[in-house]
Point group: C2
Chain length 83, copies 2
């Protein structure tokens, strides 16, 4: 089963990478008010059902894929039309 996890810095958390992207785009003449950079993780996992996959993905996010203190995550199973 294929799944996509989007991990983003939470609102209010400093995002130096996003600030660098915003500065770079501004330098190139693009009018961008804000840029935030996170990670997109595409996974191919073994799971018997969508429920099982979602439960495993929740656990993966909390333990390894994201830092819940400063990052939020969003899970998209491919059957739901992944981003």
């Amino acid at each position: 089963m294929r799944a996509t996890v989007l991990v983003r810095p939470k609102a209010g958390i400093l995002d130096p990478q996003g600030e660098a992207v915003r500065g770079g785009l501004d330098h190139l003449g693009f009018r961008v008010r804000e840029a935030r950079v996170g990670r997109v993780i595409d996974l191919e996992l073994e799971a018997g059902s969508a429920e099982e996959a979602r439960a495993a993905l929740e656990k993966m996010c909390r333990t390894l894929l994201a830092n819940p203190l400063i990052e939020s995550y969003e899970i998209v199973l491919d059957s739901e039309g992944a981003g």
Copy 2:
């Protein structure tokens, strides 16, 4: 206007970060066949129309947000239901 850009390593391109994630998940007992790690970039930009925004975003991707040689990108305008 809000937009999201997903930047991913192209198929066949080595992805050490994805390999590290796969190894880490495996170590934790998750059965994951493949993991690929890219970037998600959320932007707030000034644009008169969706067409204008999309054209600017295409240019941003080619010049700064992605390396088209080794990365593919996907643009989602918020009005279309961003990931």
